[in-house]
Point group: C2
Chain length 405, copies 2
């Protein structure tokens, strides 16, 4: 198959033409950038996915309304305070932030998304947030992607960006993205804050469908600690600045667009896991030969979410029994006599037979690596899936034992 | 209401008359007791509950068969090796252990349960296990409960025992129990290895019903890390050694029996949480005013299982937003505008209004305690439930990062 897209080294949200971004210090966090803005310099289609948490933050409630229009072209983001569990007062703070940001950026208030991330249950410091929104609008620039990517981080240790380029006929299109996320990563939703841009022209309904497809195999396949936040939001903006014909499911080039979008999403998702709170290892959990796709995913998630398995990964403890135990808890159809387990190329369990001492020794070597794959064959059918997870470390406990203090 | 039972200080499985127990060093763990036996000196009714893990250990498969008879009178237990994921060979090892233990104790093989706990995916060292079973039978004694309670421990730091006494007419009855459990504690089943005795005479069917009732509000309400093991077993033996009339749901004294059994089970369950792997705190999570009992339990479990909440408890971080977040993820019917949250007597969230700075300061004091209660009112109905959990500490990671090595 011909390559569908190529990566843009160092690319991000402003790799796509017609997008501006910025990151500024609004004083919400000590001496670092803590507010960001992203803006299309022209009208735009938009699509968004939100947390399924039943206690959504004010900005999630606010953005859900805006997303219905399908034509947002900007986002203002703050860190340090999630503006969650803040009731009507928090909603009013969010609306005021959106209004100030839209006015400063020169777009209608109904086209400016607002995203917040940080501690739950505290009010936004509005003086600083409103001033920050204005500063962010003033600082917008065509190569501001990296600054924005840095400004949206919370407990992340590195910025997360990706961008890909693909051609349809004589037109070259770009998809670029950035995200934050380190704790509270969960497989069941559009996780954390994720912003993706493209200079292709795509109608809102098709854009939403493409985003769902890409998110399903990327942000919905990662886990750090099994929790999902009140603020998770994934936004995709498409402004048509590349020129050329609009892309749609029935037009040429749609497959390439979805492939580039999916690859960008998966790259961002993997960067989130790799930078999971306290993570020292990247573990791929692949399940195959399951009776149904739901079983494959359930088994993979059960392994990836098991604190016992994750702690064993941290210590490099060749305790593969925790994989069996997690599969047995997953609800997936399974039987000891049909199950096989590998760590990379080392088979540690083969349908009721335990690993040899030799295999256990090789397993210890596999688990010493910074990245490895756990593969489980359930022997029940033909369905497969994969989930990405990190280890559970001392540093995770450190970070979460005194997050607010 | 008249007191239904009284606690027996220092009591355990041999507090009930007609029961013998022992703990011996079989060489499965370095220089400590690692096998135990429990035996009724006369015929007995028995009831048992087992893990719902779909990859049950050999002894769970073996005991399920035996439990159907309803008249087991002994248990042999080994630590160090779970005999799980060991296939047919592991089952044969289990059967051989039961045969040797029954012969040495002088009872039919069909009346001797076998329980194992330890690393998954390793074969039992049969020479030592068979010799240990014979040693354990030879060491049986009427006051051996404490020795047995010590011999069944794995990562536990203290033995767990409880016993209660109650009277019906002129007959005095005793219920006594012991258990092990520290990691892999999960709310969805009869957790870990639990052995309870009574000198009341109770028919097997009624005994099973009483055990289910007691376990539901005790072992099914605790959580350390959300995993459930391949080996979890809860066994109750009733031998009638107290004399007096048999107890049954339609006879006087049944309520007292169930109360004493439930209290013993709850005491053991709370001891398990208190000794959770690396646990430094005991946290009660109580949910009320839920729309349904299922909602109350789901919300309580979601909070109690959240690694983020548990890490905050460890650090004493007054980050109550994680409670809101967990409730929102639980699937329980809820709304920010109807939810209230207390930590002991400090209200930190009241239907959309965040806590005052003063409340946050008092919260920090509450969370410094070794034990505290989180109470959530959902404002949706009248159902309530409670779950017991521990904090997530550095020591938990230490224990599980190199369990097998």
């Amino acid at each position: 198959m011909k390559e569908q897209f190529t990566w843009i080294e160092g690319g991000g949200v402003t790799s796509a033409r017609g997008f501006l971004a910025s990151g500024v210090e609004a004083g919400l966090k000590a001496s670092r950038a803590d507010m960001a803005m992203l803006l299309s310099d022209r009208p735009c289609s938009s699509a968004a996915l939100f947390t399924s948490n039943a206690m959504p933050a004010a900005p999630v409630i606010y953005d859900r309304e805006l997303a219905r229009g399908g034509h947002c072209r900007g986002v203002v983001v703050n860190v340090g305070c999630a503006n969650a569990a803040t009731g009507r007062a928090g909603y009013a703070d969010c609306a005021a932030t959106g209004k100030a940001a839209a006015a400063a950026a020169g777009i209608p208030v109904s086209q400016m998304f607002v995203c917040s991330t940080g501690t739950i249950g505290r009010r936004l410091p509005m003086d600083r947030v409103l001033a920050g929104a204005r500063m962010a609008a003033a600082a917008l620039k065509p190569d501001g992607g990296a600054e924005a990517a840095r400004a949206i981080l919370t407990t992340d240790t590195v910025p997360k960006e990706a961008a890909a380029r693909f051609s349809v006929g004589r037109t070259e299109y770009v998809v670029g993205g950035m995200c934050k996320g380190a704790g509270m990563i969960c497989p069941r939703l559009a996780t954390t804050l994720i912003f993706i841009t493209t200079d292709a022209a795509v109608a809102p309904a098709a854009l939403k469908q493409a985003l769902k497809t890409a998110a399903e195999k990327a942000f919905n396949r990662i886990t750090v600690d099994g929790d999902q936040s009140t603020n998770d939001t994934c936004i995709l903006l498409a402004n048509g600045a590349a020129g050329g014909p609009a892309l749609s499911p029935s037009a040429p080039g749609w497959g390439k667009f979805v492939a580039a979008l999916s690859a960008t999403a998966l790259s961002l998702a993997r960067q989130i896991v790799r930078d999971g709170e306290g993570a020292s290892k990247f573990v791929t959990v692949a399940v195959r030969d399951a009776a149904t796709p739901a079983d494959a995913l359930a088994a993979a998630r059960a392994i990836a979410n098991s604190p016992l398995f994750k702690a064993a990964c941290y210590g490099g403890d060749p305790n593969w029994g925790r994989v069996i135990c997690a599969v047995g808890n997953s609800g997936a159809k399974c039987a000891e006599a049909k199950t096989r387990i590998w760590f990379d190329d080392v088979c540690v369990f083969d349908r009721g037979k335990v690993a040899s001492e030799q295999a256990n020794a090789r397993l210890a070597d596999v688990m010493k690596q910074r990245a490895f794959e756990v593969r489980v064959s359930l022997g029940m059918g033909r369905a497969s899936d994969a989930v990405y997870t990190s280890d559970l470390s001392h540093e995770y406990v450190n970070i979460n034992a005194d997050y607010t203090t």
